[in-house]
Subunit: 267 residues, 4 copies
Amino acid sequence: MIENGELVQLMSKRGDSYIFRLTPGETLNTHRGVIRHDDLLTQSFGTYVESHLGNEFLLVKPSLHDILLNTRRNTTIMYPKDIGFLLLNMNIGYGQHVVEAGTGSGALTTALAWAVGPHGHVTTYEVRQSMQDLARKNLAHLGLETRVTFKLGDIGEGIEERDVDAFFLDVRTPEAYIPIVRQALKPGGFFGSLVPTTNQVSDLLYALNEHNFAFATVCEVLLRYYKPAPGRLRPHDRMVAHTGFLIFARPILAPVNPSPNDDMEKS
Amino acid sequence: MIENGELVQLMSKRGDSYIFRLTPGETLNTHRGVIRHDDLLTQSFGTYVESHLGNEFLLVKPSLHDILLNTRRNTTIMYPKDIGFLLLNMNIGYGQHVVEAGTGSGALTTALAWAVGPHGHVTTYEVRQSMQDLARKNLAHLGLETRVTFKLGDIGEGIEERDVDAFFLDVRTPEAYIPIVRQALKPGGFFGSLVPTTNQVSDLLYALNEHNFAFATVCEVLLRYYKPAPGRLRPHDRMVAHTGFLIFARPILAPVNPSPNDDMEKS
Amino acid sequence: MIENGELVQLMSKRGDSYIFRLTPGETLNTHRGVIRHDDLLTQSFGTYVESHLGNEFLLVKPSLHDILLNTRRNTTIMYPKDIGFLLLNMNIGYGQHVVEAGTGSGALTTALAWAVGPHGHVTTYEVRQSMQDLARKNLAHLGLETRVTFKLGDIGEGIEERDVDAFFLDVRTPEAYIPIVRQALKPGGFFGSLVPTTNQVSDLLYALNEHNFAFATVCEVLLRYYKPAPGRLRPHDRMVAHTGFLIFARPILAPVNPSPNDDMEKS
Amino acid sequence: MIENGELVQLMSKRGDSYIFRLTPGETLNTHRGVIRHDDLLTQSFGTYVESHLGNEFLLVKPSLHDILLNTRRNTTIMYPKDIGFLLLNMNIGYGQHVVEAGTGSGALTTALAWAVGPHGHVTTYEVRQSMQDLARKNLAHLGLETRVTFKLGDIGEGIEERDVDAFFLDVRTPEAYIPIVRQALKPGGFFGSLVPTTNQVSDLLYALNEHNFAFATVCEVLLRYYKPAPGRLRPHDRMVAHTGFLIFARPILAPVNPSPNDDMEKS
């Protein structure tokens, strides 16, 4: 049985998706009809429920993947394909302290808060009050706001955080903030960023080399979906071809050749 | 300062990587010289250390990504690019119970144990004693063995686990075990699998349709690395072009059209 | 100076494209205004011309690439990315005789007629009269109809052509026609096909093995466009992710292991 | 029956490939044994022949694709996947005059000579005598040397050719030669280039904008091979991930906004 306060997802047969927290007395309004939260309390996950117009919705538990794709936004969000890979690369897990700039609508913030668990913490910076408000609302909606400190301001003016496990820059000119990142990261910490253009990748690599980051890695994650028809299996006709380039690097102490693996193949 | 018992990584300038747990009195033997664990205890992460032959190694904290790629194995391992995406899709996180078959050398087991944290649990099945031994050794090496129950045997003969949050099949004929998965998964649970051939994808999709799984999703994650040279930025000449097809699906209660989003574009 | 009867292309600043043959007295009607063919005769390629509404169009000579993408059609056409690669793989060039089934709207027919030159020939089969009419009109529009013999009918009932240099199947069940292809191809000839699903690829490979074709090759050509902004260079957000799988094979005389290069990497 | 002077290909079961012209009295020496040309004259294409060591080779007619991959070289060659697409984009066909710089080992020269047919012509520039000698030898080997004029020198010092149909730059700094290309191209002509790095793409786009080229297009052609096993169909494990970026553009007369389709999706 589903409990009050639990996060649930309703999916129509057309693929429309609604993610919300069960609240006594509330209703969900869709263009395929109204559903009362109270009616869902007696149901089990995996059941089809009907709106007052008789349209069916499948009641499921949302995955982090679905939550991220449903994040209310005014900006481009980071995609699950990129987030899944960066969590592993930056070793973001249970109990860690991660700093992010900028917050945006909070999609990556959500994933970071989810990954560090109840004993970790995320500090996230944003310069636009309206974006911070939206992100705060999105995180509260998911019950993850207690794991996050929202700060308003430009990290270029300096930040207090020190000894953080990982630092992610989702800003237009990440190369400008590398000294700030260096100060905040603990020895052995992890740096990551995502930028859309090749020019930005070059600018960031120059800055990382200059400020003693090593093992710079640049990659793209591409996701190709197939039509799940077993007798006519084929890729979808179109795909998302580009979200951004992921860049990872590690701060080091001594000056060294910053690209020892420049010409290596990786996998 | 680095502590005894901590997991560390040494990387040569050529990109050779050694991941191990610091143990008083032990030594690391590489073909570029010997390094004593005790000498690392006085160091900080991000420092270069020398072997007795004078070769330099960068001392860093390993990421889950690096740990996975370094897993000792006798079989094909699952790649970080696939694991990162499946963790988000199958909502695998803090405090959950996940079942996996088969264990293999334990690369995915490692990631699952890492993702569920100290209050979650992983049960993993394997039919080959030798593989289980290897996986157990790999997990112990990483200090994650307390989060994992290793079981020897074929899940086709039935399993005891019930009400599990997520179930991953990494076996040759996943279509044969779908009824077992169904019994073990809680309502709202998550199913996932990875298979290398298109024929296997079709076989699995037929089985999922037959056993009331909905929202079947088939995809590939492709990872493209770039040479991190800011003035000569370009993709690597060669890449890993295929590891496997990821298939996800959700168990549902009522019989419905199993592919409501058959022709939808996804991202 | 441009001559009467020449094939020209007008491109609007929005990228709309019109390909037509210059004919005295005729007019081109676009939703951005009318342009008289006679007014173009005094122009040079590379010039901007104006419609009667004052909208500018660039006057250029169309490439085969542009011609193919502009082919009037009622069906999926083959894409230039696939056609360019198959011409090289099937060695289709000056003076050859190529057979194609089915004609469709004539996009591939156009490319084949272009590639074999004035001394080669293309024979193309189609079962639908309406499609043949459309293709004939498209080829005539381009002045290539003299290089093509259009035949109405199902090649499954047998064809007269023998000793042809290359044979391309663009039909739903190419596996059904492999014996026909074998009879028509000269020793040393080239076979090719394009199918959208993996199931069709498997079916075709079985048929090729059975009928003594060797060096079966299966591949996909993917085309990724970039926004041509030098200071903000990045791939387009979305791309055509799938048109079809290309299959090539060569008829051989003696029975042999049909897949000698089964596990080889190719480039 | 195969004739003297004909171009033939022998392929071993392992995929080794030998392309040569049949010459009375000559022998082919492979590490799997010797084969006399005279013995092939009595054979038919599609037959298996044996070396003096008893190893079998399939006797076939080589495709342009195979010829290009077999080109003797001291440099990176252009790949068939790129060449097939550029021939269509640059409209290179029967009877045209095409200029290329630099010649390199002559792979693209070969394809151009093949595409323009016996009534077209290719002029190709190279600064290194040794490369020109190699290319000349490669073209003569294929019987295509009469369609090509080899010129030694740097096109930066000016060239005589005018009114050419298409101009391809395969040099390190194509941006330096755009004015030269402009002078040589006829109105309505086609420009193309291939460069490996994103920095070079940006530099070339700036130069094209400056010198009144329009419809600049940047793309990559990716080729993904599958193992041709019908019951275990899957992509190859590894692939060529990058050869270069293709850039196309058209010279225009009037100064205009050079990138009218800057933000358009293309296919």
